[in-house]
């Protein structure tokens, strides 16, 4: 198992370099002259030349990539073309907001998803089960930016329960985190249900029932604990869904996170900002996946890794 973990960590190193390369190559891959595209049509030739020098576009590509790697290793993502502020500062200001939103959504997704999945599995093919599964499928098919707008319509505009946009209080967090958590809740609910159904058919559950165990304990102690393993994996896999969903949710609720920064960066062609935000989100994703895999290997003693 130790070799598995070591191998898993080693394998993520080329991935990190690959991600850095793609982010680096982004600006260079812009068709035509990147400096011209970033500067815009109205830019003076002097400004374009300065921009090219600023972005290091006048040096050989290998040198550029080396320079890029060493600066991001020092946490330097360059300066925003529009505001001239260091991108790193902006990222630090935004990251806690994205973190808060993603965490809250993870809680929503886990509580709602696992709860609904168990309820469904206890009475399979009942009306309640059907209702839960229909909701889950709808949740999977709903565009998250639209469900956000619908929640805003119902809970802020019509009912006035929560503020529609912005940050600052717990009430501000409710709508964005429920919106963002819904898709994942649907996935977790489906996984919990099928995992529970499988376990409930197992011999040891029949044995537990045969010995006269109370049904609540059969479900809670014997079945649920064993059904949990695939569910935990799926919850871990939701990080990607949540991180990419955050980009959309932040745009809907004017939530000042990294995702919003990224979209604003693209719309204003502020490439250092775009590069910095993409790099940070992708790195978080790579590390969380690594952590989930390692934890999984540690937690589940039954699986032997080569």
């Amino acid at each position: 198992m130790r070799t598995y973990i070591a191998k898993r960590i080693l394998l993520s190193i080329p991935v990190v370099f690959g991600v850095a390369f793609i982010v680096f190559a982004m600006v260079r891959a812009i068709p035509g002259d990147p400096a011209q595209v970033i500067g815009g049509q109205a830019a003076t030739p002097e400004y374009i030349a300065a921009l090219r020098k600023d972005l290091g576009l006048d040096r050989p590509v290998v040198v550029q990539f080396g320079g890029y790697l060493s600066s991001i290793a020092r946490g330097d993502f360059g300066r925003s073309i529009r505001s001239n502020a260091p991108v790193t500062e902006e990222l630090w200001a935004r990251l806690p907001n994205t973190f808060q939103l993603t965490m809250a959504s993870m809680v929503v997704a886990t509580v709602v998803g696992v709860g609904a999945g168990i309820v469904s599995a206890i009475r399979p093919y009942s009306l309640l089960d059907a209702a839960v599964m229909v909701f889950a499928l709808a949740g999977l098919s709903m565009p998250i930016f639209w469900s956000g707008l619908m929640m805003m319509l119902v809970f802020s505009i019509i009912l006035g329960w929560f503020p529609p946009v912005g940050t600052g209080s717990l009430a501000h967090l409710v709508l964005p985190s429920v919106t963002l958590g819904m898709t994942s809740a649907a996935i977790i609910a489906r996984m919990t249900r099928s995992s529970m159904l499988e376990v409930l058919r197992a011999d040891y559950v029949r044995t537990a029932r045969a010995k006269g165990q109370v049904e609540r304990l059969v479900v809670g102690r014997h079945a649920f604990k064993n059904a949990l393993i695939p569910v935990i994996t799926v919850i871990g896999l939701q990080t990607g869904t949540l991180l990419s969903g955050a980009v959309l949710t932040e745009s809907v609720f004017a939530w000042p996170g990294v995702g919003r920064l990224l979209v604003e960066g693209i719309l204003t062609r502020d490439y250092p900002v775009v590069q910095g935000s993409v790099m940070v989100v992708a790195l978080v994703f790579v590390f969380v996946n690594l952590a989930v895999d390692v934890l999984y290997a540690l937690v589940d003693p039954r699986i032997h890794y080569q």
Binding site: I22, W146, G245, L267, V281
Partner: protein
């Protein structure tokens, strides 16, 4: 629809016809799958026949009737420029149809051969391909599409290409896994022993056996392509106004959420139903094509 393709492509191997029929029989029993198939058929018809069934020109502006609520005359109401929402949603189906087909064609066209070759040959090329796939999959969901759009520029064609590229690694990985388990099986060895070339082995013996997973994946992939394209349109990175694309429609209508909820509601419902259709079909197709489920 899925089985239609399967039948056409799988005919050469006689044993497969029986398997396809079995899969169809299995599929027919799934009410959810049939519902999905029905939704997709309606979606296809609406998309293909948009110009003849749309009650009005979707780009016809009428400022006097801006944000008008749904009425008998305009069933879904009017948007902020007084354009007929129903007509715009009908044309939106056409655009989503094109997005789904093109994105899938790029993903399948590049990903499937890549996965098959990489899995069949193994060794260094496989290792390199897999590392590239790893890197592409290291970007969560929509992020890689956003990166590609940032490079190619904002717009609907760029968004379609981006979504297609993003789906390549999924197919490549899937087909590679299948190929790995197929390449050492007896019927492949037999073909090799009879002197079949690599191309023939892959096309005649390996790929037909991966068809099931590719069909299931493609169905689900179209759903996610439509969702992603709408998301890009919503963020202002995909289709641009005045294009009648569902995501872009939501993007401009959201400012009038309070005044005209209908302009925000209908495009979202259209996206949801379409995506739901592909998800239902994909789930049912997986159940029908997965031999482990058929005991």
């Amino acid at each position: 629809m899925a089985t239609g393709i399967a039948e056409k492509l799988a005919v050469p191997a006689p044993a497969r016809a029986g398997r396809t029929q079995l899969a169809w029989r299995q599929f027919r029993r799934s009410r959810a799958g049939l519902l999905g198939l029905g939704i997709i058929l309606v979606f296809l018809l609406v998309g293909l026949l948009a110009p003849s069934i749309a009650p009005r020109d979707p780009y016809d502006v009428d400022f006097d009737r801006g944000l008008e609520r749904p009425s008998r005359e305009s069933l879904f109401g009017r948007d902020e420029l007084g354009r007929d929402m129903l007509s715009r949603i009908i044309y939106g189906a056409r655009i989503s149809l094109v997005i789904g087909v093109i994105a899938m064609a790029i993903g399948v066209g590049v990903g499937v051969p890549l996965g098959a070759l990489s899995g069949y040959y193994g060794g260094v090329p496989d290792l390199l391909t897999q590392r590239v796939v790893d890197v592409m999959l290291a970007f969560p969901g929509i992020l890689l599409a956003i990166v590609i759009v940032a490079v190619l520029g904002v717009g609907l064609p760029q968004a379609m290409i981006a979504i297609g590229i993003v789906s390549i690694p999924v197919y490549a990985r899937l087909v590679r896994g299948q190929t790995l388990s197929l390449r050492n099986q007896e019927f492949v060895e037999a073909a090799r022993a009879m002197g079949a070339g690599v191309g023939r082995i892959i096309i005649r013996h390996v790929l037909p056996n991966t068809l099931g997973v590719v069909i299931v994946q493609s169905t689900l992939q179209i759903a996610s392509a439509i969702l992603t394209a709408a998301a890009l349109g919503f963020l202002g990175l995909g289709a641009q106004p005045p294009t009648a694309e569902w995501g872009a429609m939501l993007s401009s209508a959201r400012q009038y959420l309070r005044l005209a909820p209908h302009a925000v509601t209908f495009p979202g419902v259209a996206i949801m139903i379409t995506v739901l259709g592909f998800n239902l079909l994909g789930d049912a197709a997986r159940d029908a094509l997965d031999p482990r489920m058929r005991i």
